[in-house]
Amino acid sequence: MATLPVPVENLIARFGPHLNFPRAEGIPGRDEPDAVVKTHCCFCGMQCGIKLLVKDDKVVGFEPWEEFPFNEGRLCPKGVQRYMQNEHPDRLLTPLIRVGGKGFEKIGWDGAMERVVSEIQRIQNAHGPDAFAMLSGVSLTNEKSYLVGKFARVALKTRNLDYNGRLCMVSAGAGNKKAFGLDRGSNNYSDLAHAEVVMICGTNVSETFPTLTHWIWQARDNGGKLIVVDPRLTPIARTADLHLPIRPGRDSALYGAILHQLIKHDWLDHAFIANHTTDFEKAKEAVKDYDLAWAERTTGIAADKIELAARWWGPAKTSFLLHARGIEHQSKGVENVLGCINLVLATGRIGKPYCGYATITGQGNGQGGREHGHKCDQLPGNRDIENPEHRKYIAGVWGIEEKDLPGKGLTAYEIMEAAHRGEIKGLLSICFNPVVSLPNNNMIREALEKLEFYVAIDFFLNETARHADIILPGSLHEEEEGTVTTAEGRVVRIRKAVNPPSEARSDTSILLELADRLGAGERFSFHSSEEIFNELRVASKGGTADYFGITYKKIEDTMGVFWPCPSEDHPGTPRLWEDRKFKTPDGRAHFHGVPYREPAEVTDSEYPVILTTGRVVSQYLSGTQTRRIGKLVKQYAEPLLEIHPALAARLDIHERELVRVSTRRGTAEFPAQLVETIREDTVFVPYHWPGRKSVNQLTSGHLDPISKIPEFKVCACRLEPTGRKAPSPDEAQAWASP
């Protein structure tokens, strides 16, 4: 039974989200902290260095860490306010058990663990090991990601483990593996400084990776040109030399059209193409008809702008291309990525100073988490779970028979679909809030309600965990030692600043005890995060993501080590491909033919407007943390429907009017915000909010066939004015919407 035990309003009243504000009179002890702990922000993939101030085992504030080389003290508002997740009234302090009609009641650790293990065993005995699934997330450190991957395969013995990176970096990862044989940004961000052209595609850098803005503008300060591809005029697009306001879902057409121009004008590096790549002819063939007139019709971008982008990109001596979820969250996410890579390879500008290419990994440990842990088709070191050699090696490290290592499982959205069909009966989740973050989330909620047993490990009762039978109170980022890998591929140290409060425990100790109770204790005899990391090093050895030469001490001595780092005397690899030895089987970088195809759902007379989604600077992902931090909530308190005034006028929609937005999957109402900074055929709603305020009630579950990423960034909708003015944000309380 994974239905809510009591009406949702009762759960919100007890478990929040409630807003935590700093006290105006100041926080005692901040002037004379017991410790100043150098660590990293718990939010995005930039992993900015930050110092936490600790007094009496509590985080009481922060201080910029100016010596850390990536951000040099710079922070965004989320980093400044992150300490407010400590001492939070919503913090889960004891294990809880669902009692129908009553809510959640306290239970001891022993009873909670016993119930979890008996339910796992009951379901697996009756329906097979794969009927119990696990969902995880990449806010977890490398150590915990590795532990989750091993736990699911060795202790839980299920193949159905996947993670929230499925909503994040999988299209980029798949594209990079196809083209380069390895999944990491090719360069660190210092290569932006003297790039003549920087092209950023589908990434709202200034709101989602604010501290990266500095590096991009460094290029501009040195005379570089900035091209931004985005349906909206975002804060970074505002300052671009060229903004290409693309129609959502048409990205591969743009990159195809630019490649067509590069070929037409012979802006190609023939020597690089001949000596270090394959399949250029396939890429060329695919774009032979993609002239400017076709491109303008398809992308909605004026032909002269596309031509100018090609004219800047083509002959440049140095360049850097960055992309993120805008092009990746599509049913052709991998094709969009490959279209971008084709532009980089055609001009041979990679593996040299100021010649770069990278996806901007979104989540805090989006990079490291996807290399060593919880991805359904992967083993540590970015190994392939279906490759017999890889399986054999990891089985050896884990001390199990290769035949006992489960194979490839379902991806995150598919796990929920299987639960909806009744095939998956039990679920363990940690660090994932799919009822807010997955698309088509009315289906997700129904799937949760069909589960026979659901156990959630988390520090707050997020919207998904409300459906749990047992809740195990885990740890915040600042409550455990570990490492994460930044979007640049730099492995950095996360330091424990305080202990988990009351009866809450570290995530690691919870997983270790569960493994022991499931009978796999001897495979999980770790006594510290460093011991887990040291096993991860061995498990990654010889894989493409090779961490073997990275130690805690080396990270601490050098403020981070870039993988691959195969031996202890190896300095790490800040810039890939200087040796031109790509990690594909033939050692070459691969072009791909990328014929354009439409998004899975296109507009029609019934649903005539394109809906796209994204983020705002003051919120993070599904908001489990940031919708509980008062100042971040107040900065942007509710999801607004950004709509162009011309479209609004046609539909008689007015500023702050509630607009009913409908798709084939659901209906929701949002206040209109009229702005000229969006295309006339497109509306935008950010996705961080729950319940009736969740735009993911509307988004589509169409998946990329390779990466299985959902198409968040484009679907078809209908807009209807309601004639009602939206209540004030304080009255609406969208952050805690039922």
Binding site: R74, T239, V617, T677
Partner: protein, 189 residues
């Protein structure tokens, strides 16, 4: 007075680079003396037209009009050119300074009956640190450092500290960044 104030470092403000993230406001408000109120302000210019925001700190005028119009002599400029927030014992909350400031910086805080404004993080700058807002700003809209550092970072911009408000010229300690070669900012003719 014993101090480690770095006289070689200056404040450079570049509102065009502001990305509207509000990290500066939140970091400023953390200061114990500010009671969780920011002394720096970020606002949209016109959200209908653009996501452009602008950021305003105290410009620390060479001849601060806020101090000149203060009937209680509550506002003082120190030897380093910092124009300090109102002396709490003297301020009578008359709002003369609020009305007189050409940059709209001082604000009267009603519940406290007191004018408060940016003092360039004197607690930090007097200890050789940078102001908090300029330390955290992710986009370089706020920068604190030497003139040489700034010239190296922004070869195509010039710092300007002369503002023309009609016939009145105001010189400030804080610089704003202008296109290379500009020497003054004419706010209005």
């Amino acid at each position: 007075m014993s101090t480690s104030f770095r006289t070689d470092q200056e404040f450079f403000l570049d509102p065009q680079r502001c990305i509207g993230c509000h990290a500066c406001e939140m970091a400023c408000a953390e200061c114990e003396t500010n009671g969780q109120l920011p002394m720096i302000h970020v606002d949209y210019v016109d959200r209908f037209l653009s996501p452009q925001t602008s950021v305003q700190i105290c410009m620390h005028c060479e001849d601060p009009v806020c101090a000149r119009v203060c009937p209680a002599v509550a506002i003082e400029k120190d030897e380093f050119g910092i124009v300090h927030s109102a002396n709490t014992a003297r301020c009578i909350a008359c709002s003369n300074c609020v009305n007189a400031c050409p940059f709209g910086v001082p604000r009267k805080i009603e519940p406290m009956d007191l004018m408060m404004k940016c003092n360039m993080c004197y607690d930090r700058t007097s200890a050789g640190k940078k102001p908090m807002c300029a330390t955290v700003c992710p986009s370089g809209a706020l920068f604190y450092g030497t003139r040489e550092e700034m010239a190296r970072r922004r070869p195509n911009s010039s710092p300007v500290n002369t503002f023309k408000f009609g016939r009145e010229t105001v010189k400030t300690k804080v610089n704003i960044m202008m296109p290379k070669g500009e020497t003054e900012l004419v706010v209005y003719e």
